[in-house]
């Protein structure tokens, strides 16, 4: 299970045009932390093609190295071996081309909603006039529906609103690729569902290349074109890709009764559960103590013979 299989030809696959060029490809990427005995291999042999204009979801259990994967893609971490290529260039550091939305929002608490978004806009579009930049900021605040809260600071916002700000901040940078690192995991179920639909709406308008990392299979199916499971770590690798053949625009309520949706959900969930079971079995097997060689000894009675006692 160490070599990831991508797009394994499947019998049911519908004929479709040749896949567009990959925008980002990861080739045999490995990443671990620490050294010596405490060395912990997080990801091993990751191969992944992110195609132009596609919405790709990576689904995995918590602790399987999802965040490390996003950090690698964002350029915040550098792979130990293998390479990540974007537009024929090896990724060596973070870039404004790859916008990232963090799980914990990471908004700057001393800036208002507008200030947080303006910080990235002012930086990315330095050459624009002041007015252009302000209009750009306003446009994205409106896009995420926060026009009434422009002057508030993050601590005065709910979790959902914070994540909207974070999303607007990243979208406003107009990145080529949008990396969403479990953007909705910290939200309650209702807010989560609302934001899923909003992300879906925004994405269907912009059709930006997007990579979503999530632990929610339903969310992945709702949003993505392809789903790649991440096998649990240590030494996490990618599983086979599942294509999501659902018509867009998608409607969350209608999908609940859709047979394709149900089948896909079962397939992905079953795969993940099976892989985790296997990983646990392997771990149990590996951690079993090596057979101890017993000395050749015969049990012998050390009891004092009765007669001599006392």
């Amino acid at each position: 299970m160490s070599v990831a299989v991508l797009d394994r030809p499947r019998s049911k696959a519908i004929a479709r045009p040749a896949p567009p060029d990959p925008l980002i490809s990861m080739r045999a990427v490995c990443k671990g932390y620490g050294s010596g005995v405490t060395r912990n291999e997080v990801l091993s042999n990751i191969n992944l093609n992110l195609r132009k204009g596609e919405f790709l979801a990576i689904v995995g259990f918590s602790g399987s190295g999802k965040t490390t994967l996003t950090k690698l893609l964002a350029g915040l971490e550098i792979p130990d071996s293998g390479e990540i290529v974007m537009d024929n260039e090896i990724i060596k550091g973070p870039s404004q081309e790859r916008g990232i939305v963090f799980q914990n929002y990471s908004l700057l608490p001393w800036l208002t909603v507008r200030g947080n978004i303006a910080l990235s806009v002012d930086r990315v579009f330095k050459h624009w006039s002041r007015g252009e930049r302000r209009d750009h900021v306003e446009k994205f605040i409106e896009m995420v529906g926060l026009s009434h809260a422009v002057h508030r600071r993050p601590h005065e916002l709910s979790g959902g609103m914070r994540q909207r700000v974070s999303l607007a901040r990243t979208l406003a940078m107009k990145p080529n690729v949008l990396l969403l690192d479990e953007p909705l995991s910290a939200l309650d179920a209702l807010t989560r569902s609302v934001l899923q639909e909003e992300i879906l709406k925004i994405w269907e308008e912009e059709r930006q290349t997007c990579l979503l990392i999530t632990n929610d299979v339903d969310e992945a199916i709702l949003l993505a074109d392809r789903i790649v499971p991440l096998n649990p770590g240590p030494n996490a690798s990618l599983g086979p890709a599942f294509s999501v053949e659902l018509e867009r625009p998608r409607d969350k309520t209608a999908l609940n009764h859709n047979e394709t949706f149900k089948g896909l959900r079962n397939a992905v969930t079953n795969y993940l559960v099976a892989v985790r079971q296997k990983s646990r079995d392997d771990e149990a097997l590996a951690s079993e103590a090596p057979p101890i060689e017993l000395p050749e000894l015969q049990p012998r009675s050390l009891r004092v013979p009765r007669g001599r006692a006392g």
Binding site: P94, F102, S106, L108, W110
Partner: protein, 371 residues
């Protein structure tokens, strides 16, 4: 209803929980609960102060020697009132003298002008003499106009001197400690290099620093005459002693604040590719302000405490010198005055602390901490 929210926010940020129940009462909230709040934050402290005053009075009757006596609260209060009365009397007198001098200057100037006029019509040697006379008169007028009362500093003057000294010392300390702290926080190497100095000098008492500060000031002022310099020598010695002692909390806290900036903020900075200075001014400094201000608050507290001792030793005409002089004088009022100045020193310290808490809460968004 917005004024209520704003007022409550102000109470929170200013660290004044005592005002909160009153605001809520005005806003028409549950009376019983607010009375409980008032009892806790107002009635109880007042009662505690009353008990303290009773104990103090009892102690004042007990602690008596042949020549000295612990001043009672009333003695202290009287002494305090007297100190302020002396201050206003002195001020009134100074004002009177000043007015007299001004009048004198006006008359002198008028005389000088008339003499100059006479000189215009005169000729020869007489003209020279008249002009010289006018010059002398003008000089006298200027002198009178620039008259500064040279009376001994009053209690209020001493308070002001003390505050000036502590602020100058604190400003010097901040200007040194914040940049070094930022440097140490950003570079673990720099921190490792400076840690030994911080560890060794931090616990040193002001009294040990003072002679060294004295030496440095004397060296810096060698070759200049008194009166030529903007700052008085004793003032600078006190101020520098204050800064040497109040440097450390700011330094340590700034280092900590800068070193512990949230990694996520730094990731944001990295994705945006902020330049070094932008990272510093847009991310690192704002993020570390709350801890920095916590350090500044401790620094100012330490500075105020140290100042009294420094004033005593350096003979800087502040509150420390006042206490020391009173102690040396040994009049019947000595101890009452000292007790009064103790209370004043405490109250000013409290005020400074409150101001720093307020400032810290202004910069810590989301979690203003109570004092």
């Amino acid at each position: 209803m917005n004024w209520r929210g704003n007022a409550l926010k102000f109470c929170d940020v200013a660290g004044l929980p005592a005002l909160e129940p009153f605001v809520r009462l005005l806003a028409g909230e549950d009376v019983k609960e607010q009375l409980k709040g008032i009892a806790k934050f107002v009635v109880l402290p007042v009662a505690a102060v009353a008990v303290f005053l009773l104990l103090w009075s009892a102690a004042a009757r007990t602690v008596v020697t042949d020549s000295m006596q612990l001043p009672s609260p009333t003695d202290t209060w009287t002494a305090g009132k007297e100190l302020f009365a002396m201050h206003s009397a002195q001020r009134a007198e100074d004002l009177k003298v000043k007015q007299e001098k001004t009048m004198q200057a006006v008359t002198l100037l008028a005389q000088a002008n008339s003499v100059t006029k006479q000189a215009e019509s005169a000729t020869g040697e007489r003209k020279e003499t008249l002009l010289a006379n006018a010059l002398v008169l003008k000089k006298k007028a200027v002198q009178a106009a620039n008259y500064r009362p040279s009376s001994a500093p009053t209690f209020v003057d001493q308070i002001i001197t003390s505050l000036k000294t502590v602020f100058v010392g604190f400003a010097i300390a901040t200007l040194i400690a914040v940049p070094i702290g930022v440097l140490c926080g950003m570079s673990p190497w720099c921190n490792a290099a400076l840690t030994p100095f911080i560890q060794i000098f931090k616990p040193v008492s002001p009294l040990a620093w003072l002679p060294l500060a004295f030496l440095i000031i004397v060296w810096a002022y060698s070759g200049t005459k008194p009166g030529e310099n903007f700052f008085d020598k004793a003032f600078l010695i006190s101020a520098i002693t204050v800064s040497l002692c109040s440097l450390w909390p700011t330094l340590v806290n700034t280092t900590l604040g800068v070193a512990s900036v949230d990694k996520d903020y730094m990731n944001v900075a990295r994705v945006l590719k902020l330049s070094w200075s932008q990272q510093l001014f847009k991310i690192i400094l704002p993020a570390s302000l709350p801890l920095m201000f916590a350090g500044l608050r401790i620094s100012l507290g330490v500075g105020w405490m140290v100042l009294i001792a420094a004033d005593m030793l350096a003979q800087n005409p502040g509150l420390g010198k006042f206490v020391w002089d009173e102690f040396q004088n040994g009049s019947s009022q000595t101890y009452a005055r000292i007790a009064f100045s103790v209370i004043i020193i405490g109250l000013i310290g409290l005020l400074l602390d409150r101001i720093m808490i307020f400032m810290r809460n202004l910069v810590s968004f989301g979690d203003p901490q109570a004092a």
